[in-house]
Structure formats: structure tokens, C-alpha cells
């Protein structure tokens, strides 16, 4: 049995890339830096951001997704059958290389296994979080020129991701989070989308979380029970904790990854406000059901702001842990069962 302190603190996944790494990536893209040096840069950056997370007191760190430019692009580049025609606008002056499915999809080698192995080498934590973009989001944010339907494409991707998760489990991973920000955008597709996402969990016995953000949680909530994940990491700070009680009441026995830090706002949260938010959740669910995390990945913030926000989050958790200790609740079990 693996124990964690009650109200374990974690991140959603991404962390701001150090400025020097951004320069290295730019140089590598322009052909001015070899692959070997870029990998060295990525590794050094992972060491730096993992230490940063550990130093502020994060219980379950990630590698900050230092190697990933974008959450869909990264996976599409590593699965055979995708192609890229060029950047597509997401908002304002922000673009991403939207992949195109042009052939039958194949996983020819592990996608994030090396990321996990390196992370385990450099962290002093027993449990880390490995994030994988979910099949529905990859499909929704890609063009499909090959499969007859989006549904067929999502199920195909789910099989590939399931293989990846199993391989991570074999390598010792204890906690994998599937990121599905697009999941609720087409409510009519929810029934089969949930079935497809569940394919990812088949034959897997480690902890699996599902992250859904900036979405209509009233579309998601009816599926909490059906989704074979023990934890739902959701964004609440951005929406001023609207719908929190409603969502928690629908949670049943599962866990919430409670988003208490707004990642789209540079303003550092007030510790009391974070304490209040967690207390609000504690009024509805048991302490054992709550993990505490930011709303989403931190990569759009500056490194200093990200670090300070995490520090506030951890400090708020410490306040509540003192209260829970008085009630005899100090640790929880890393739960894998759905």
C-alpha cells in the first residue's frame, strides 16, 4: 500500500519552460543546435522544474512536460499515420500544428515512457504524475482524412494509448492522468466518447485520473460513475468555484483533483481564499477524496508566478492538514480502484 499525506498536492502537468530552454528549442528548430544538445537541455530543464516543485512542497510532481510544445502535436508526431500541413490559429496570434490523420494509426514505439523513466531518476518522490492527451481530444483537434468516422478514429487512438499506459505500468508508473479538455464540446458524442476513453483503462491496475478543463461540467457529471477513472481533475478557480458543490455531489465515491489556482491570471491567489475553497469541498466529500492542484497546466505563466502560486497552494493545504491531524486524519492511500 502506498501512502500519501492527506490532501495530496500535485500539478496538472505542464510547467513554464525556463527561458534558456525556449532559446534552445528555437535554435534547434532553426537548425542551429543538434538533437543531442536539445535532449540535454530538456533533461536539465526537467531536473530544474522537478526540484522547483519538490522545493515548494508538491507531493506528486510531473516533469513539467518540458519536451512537449503542444499537447496534441506531441502525440501526433509520435504516432504513425499523422501528417502536418501547417499551423492553424487557436486564438489571436496563437497557433498550433493541427495534425491530419492520413493513414491507419500505429504505435511503433513508446511515446512518453522515456519521459517517465527520466523523471523517476531525478525526483525524490515515490509517486509522480505522467500525463497523456486523451484519444477524444487528439481526434477532435485533428483533421480526419482516413477513418470513416470520428468515432472509429477515437477508438483506434484509445487502443494506442492503452498500450502506452500498460507499458508505463510495467515500468513502475503509479499515476497516469489522461487529459481530455475537448471531451464535453460535442455533447451528442458523449456516450461513445466515454466508452472510447474507457478503452484506455482496460487491463490497467494503477491509478488513473481524468483531467477535463474549461468545459461544461454539467455535461460531464452524469458520466462520473461510468468513466473508469478513480479521479477527476477539474478546473474551479477560473470559474470562481461555480458548480463545485453540484459536481462534488455527483462524484460518488471517486476523487476530485480540485483546481484551486487560476492559471490564466498572473495574480497570486490569497491563501485564505484557497483554504476557503478546499473547505467548501470538504463540506461535501471526505478528505480522502480530495487532491489539490491548479486548474490546468502552468505553462502560460512566468516561472516565478507559477512557483509562487504553487507555494500558496501548498501553504493553504498545510493549514487544513493541521486541522485534519487533530481529527486523526494524516495520510491517505494511493487509490487505484475505480
Amino acid at each position: 500500500m502506498i501512502e500519501l499525506p492527506v490532501l495530496p498536492t500535485t500539478v496538472i502537468g505542464s510547467y513554464p519552460r525556463p527561458k534558456w530552454l525556449k532559446e534552445l528549442v528555437k535554435a534547434a528548430k532553426a537548425g542551429r543546435l543538434g538533437k543531442k544538445y536539445l535532449i540535454e537541455g530538456f533533461n536539465d530543464a526537467v531536473v530544474a522544474v522537478v526540484k522547483e516543485q519538490e522545493e515548494v512542497g508538491i507531493d506528486i510532481p510531473s516533469d513539467g512536460e518540458m519536451r512537449r510544445d503542444e499537447m496534441v502535436e506531441y502525440f501526433a508526431e509520435r504516432i504513425e499515420g499523422f501528417k502536418f500541413y501547417g499551423p492553424v490559429r487557436v486564438w489571436g496570434t496563437h497557433y498550433f500544428n493541427k495534425p491530419v490523420v492520413v493513414d491507419s494509426l500505429r504505435r511503433t514505439k513508446p511515446i512518453v515512457l522515456d519521459e517517465f523513466k527520466f523523471l523517476m531518476k531525478v525526483t525524490n518522490r515515490r509517486v509522480v504524475k505522467v500525463t497523456i492527451t486523451g484519444p477524444y481530444t487528439i481526434a477532435d483537434w485533428s483533421f480526419n482524412e482516413y477513418y470513416k468516422s470520428k468515432e472509429e478514429l477515437v477508438f483506434e487512438l484509445a487502443k494506442i494509448i492503452n498500450e502506452e499506459v500498460k507499458e508505463l505500468e510495467k515500468a513502475g508508473a503509479l499515476f497516469v492522468q489522461i487529459d481530455e479538455p475537448a471531451l464535453t464540446t460535442h455533447p451528442k458524442e458523449m456516450e461513445w466518447a466515454v466508452e472510447a476513453i474507457n478503452e484506455v483503462t482496460k487491463g490497467v491496475n494503477i491509478k488513473l485520473g481524468l483531467h477535463v478543463c474549461y468545459s461544461d461540467y454539467r455535461v460531464l457529471a452524469p458520466y462520473f460513475d461510468k468513466l473508469k477513472f478513480s479521479q477527476f481533475a477539474l478546473e474551479f478557480a477560473n470559474r470562481n468555484f461555480r458548480d463545485l458543490t453540484y459536481i462534488l455531489r455527483k462524484l460518488g465515491d471517486k476523487e476530485i483533483g480540485l483546481g484551486v489556482i487560476d492559471v490564466h491570471n498572473r495574480k497570486i491567489e490569497d491563501i485564505n481564499a484557497v483554504v476557503r475553497a478546499i473547505r467548501k469541498a470538504l463540506r461535501v466529500v471526505r478528505p480522502e477524496q480530495i487532491y489539490v492542484n491548479p486548474d490546468c497546466g502552468l505553462k502560460l505563466l512566468s516561472r516565478e508566478v507559477a512557483r509562487e502560486k504553487l507555494r500558496v497552494m501548498v501553504s493553504a493545504v498545510k493549514v487544513l492538514r493541521r486541522e485534519l491531524r487533530r481529527k486523526g486524519i494524516e495520510t491517505i492511500e494511493l487509490r487505484t480502484k475505480v
Binding site: G86, T93, D140, F143, N144, T185, H264
Partner: protein, 329 residues
């Protein structure tokens, strides 16, 4: 009866131009430099389109982030807020918060931008090319706003029509814009109250009549079916349908013949990279020809922002080739 190709809404803004926009916003280049870039890239895009045979275009909307921005920053009473998803797309727009009575600001650059686009076209060709300024319609504006001011939705729509659209379209008309492209995805893709649909369409008809402009009413992401009962006969209305999202709307042409002489058919899928085939396009046009519209325009079904630049042009070129082949040019 004429069949023409048309561009609606935006072209994909080149990444390099967006980088200049970003550099301008962070104070690294001046407005003069950015303006020069806008002209260069708009000219490049319009030259391509005109050489393909497009006679009805927009300026490609390179100055815009989305259909509401920077437009909403030219309206008093509006605060520009955070990012919101644009329908079910992985595309986001900055949402307007209505904090006070809305009113178009003085000396908005939209008229200058239109004039610049006209100037570019006259440099590119001596032939007549129609350029349509693109403006969000009343239903789309109100349903994509966070309204903190108006207690009455009717008053909100009326103010948008009278205080924003009327002076703006009036100003554009004065400098030669005879066709205005009004984007109204909300009319077909959002769950609107009948009152909102009715007031919005009524506002559009009134503007067209009082200002003497043709309105190109652009809907997308849904079927026009629910609008039919609100439409009235007008020679100054060009209805543009999204036949990719709602192919069944082709059956509405019989009814639409009674309200408009000109129809635009969105047959190029601006949300998928697969290139359309002549056979598919011909099938739609053959059906449309049964109803003797004065003008039939063929165009993308929605904004081309959703596609990579190279694919967008490939699709537009194919459409132009189809029209030429169909007409026997």
C-alpha cells in the same frame, strides 16, 4: 443567371503576419511597420484570389483575431474580457462584457481598413471586384456577450442596431461599400429565443432598406430551417448557407427563392482538409439551378481560420476551377 465564386469571412492569417501583430502588441515594432505588413500580406492574398477568378471577396480579415475582435474595442460600453470557445471549435475569441449603453466610438478604423482593401484591389486588377466588409450581426453579438447592463434584451439588440451597426454601415456605404457581410452563426447554431431571432433579422432588414445596402447574411454551423418563417422578400438580401454542416438545407432553396434573388452556397468545408470533388460540387449546383436564382455564389461554409493556409488556398483554387469548368470558360 450567374454563377460566381466568393470568399466569405477570413482567410487563414499567415503565421508570420501574426508574429508581427504579436511584436506590435509587445511594443517591439511601430504601427507604421505593422500597417505596411498588413498591406503586403493582404495584397498577396487578394492577388492570389483575383487571379483564381474570385470577383466577390473580403479583405481576408487579417486585421482581426476573430469575428468580434478588435471590432468590440471600437464600441463604448464594452470591456474586452477573457477567452471563450467559438462554438465547438478549438478556436477561442475574447468575449465582450457589456458594462454600459453601447455606442460606436468616433473615427473607428474599420472604414479606413475598407478603403485600403479597395485600394489594394484596384492595384491588383482593373476588373470589377466586390469587397464586403465583415461585421457581426445582432444575434451573434448579443449571444456572445456577457451582458451586465441591459435588463431588456430587445433594448440591447435595438441599441446594437441603431448605435453601432447603423453609423458603421452608413459610414461604409458613404465610401462605396454596397454589400455588407453580416455574420450570424448564432441565428442557426445557438439556442436563441424567437424574439432574438425576430428582432435581429428585423434590424438587418431595416438597415438594408434605410441605408440602401445589400446585406450578405452569412450563417454557419447550423441549418437555416428555423429562420425561414422570419424571412421576408427582399432584393437586397443575399442568403449564404452552410451546406457542409446542413446539406439538407439544399431543400430549402425552393422556399428561399421566394425571399431572395441571390443565394450563396457554402460547399467548401472550411473545417476539414479533404479537398472537395467536382462531382460533389456539381450535384449541389445542379440542384440550385432548378430554382432560377439571379445569382448563385459558391463559397466556403465558414471562416477559413480553421484550416492551414496551404489547404485553404488549395480548396479555394479547386472551387474556382470548378466554377470555370461549369461555366465553360
Amino acid at each position: 443567371m450567374g454563377i460566381e465564386t466568393a470568399l466569405i469571412g477570413s482567410l487563414p492569417r499567415p503565421l508570420i503576419l501574426s508574429k508581427y501583430v504579436g511584436r506590435f502588441r509587445s511594443g517591439k515594432i511601430s504601427e507604421v511597420v505593422l500597417e505596411r505588413k498588413y498591406v503586403v500580406y493582404t495584397k498577396r492574398a487578394l492577388s492570389k484570389l483575383i487571379s483564381m477568378g474570385y470577383k466577390v471577396v473580403t479583405d481576408g480579415m487579417f486585421r482581426h483575431d476573430d469575428i468580434l475582435n478588435p471590432f468590440i474595442s471600437f464600441i463604448d460600453g464594452v470591456k474586452v474580457n477573457g477567452l471563450y470557445r467559438f462554438y465547438e471549435n478549438n478556436f477561442f475569441f475574447r468575449i465582450p462584457i457589456i458594462e454600459d449603453m453601447i455606442k460606436l466610438k468616433k473615427n473607428v478604423p474599420l472604414i479606413t481598413w475598407y478603403l485600403k482593401a479597395k485600394e489594394i484591389v484596384s492595384e491588383v486588377t482593373k476588373e470589377e471586384v466586390i469587397i464586403k466588409p465583415v461585421i457581426p450581426g445582432p444575434a451573434t453579438f448579443v449571444s456572445h456577450s456577457i451582458n451586465m447592463y441591459y435588463k431588456d434584451l430587445g433594448k440591447f439588440i435595438a441599441d446594437y442596431v441603431a448605435n453601432v451597426l447603423e453609423p458603421l454601415i452608413g459610414g461604409l456605404k458613404k465610401v462605396g461599400a454596397d454589400v455588407i457581410e453580416i455574420h450570424e452563426p448564432a441565428l442557426v447554431a445557438s439556442r436563441l429565443k424567437p424574439k432574438v431571432i425576430d428582432l435581429s433579422l428585423r434590424g438587418i432588414y431595416e438597415l438594408s432598406e434605410s441605408l440602401g445596402v445589400k446585406i450578405w447574411l452569412q450563417v454557419y454551423f447550423g441549418s437555416l430551417r428555423r429562420l425561414v418563417k422570419y424571412l421576408k422578400p427582399s432584393a437586397d438580401l443575399i442568403l449564404s448557407l452552410d451546406l457542409v454542416e446542413s446539406p439538407e438545407d439544399i431543400r430549402l432553396l425552393k422556399v428561399l427563392k421566394g425571399v431572395t434573388e441571390s443565394i450563396a452556397l457554402g460547399i467548401v468545408d472550411a473545417r476539414n482538409t479533404k479537398i472537395e470533388r467536382f462531382k460533389e460540387m456539381k450535384r449541389v449546383v445542379d440542384k440550385a439551378l432548378r430554382y432560377s436564382f439571379k445569382d448563385i455564389y459558391l463559397c466556403p461554409n465558414t471562416l477559413l481560420d480553421f484550416l492551414p493556409e496551404v489547404i485553404a488556398y488549395r480548396k479555394l483554387r479547386k472551387l474556382a476551377r470548378f466554377v470555370k469548368a461549369f461555366r465553360g470558360d
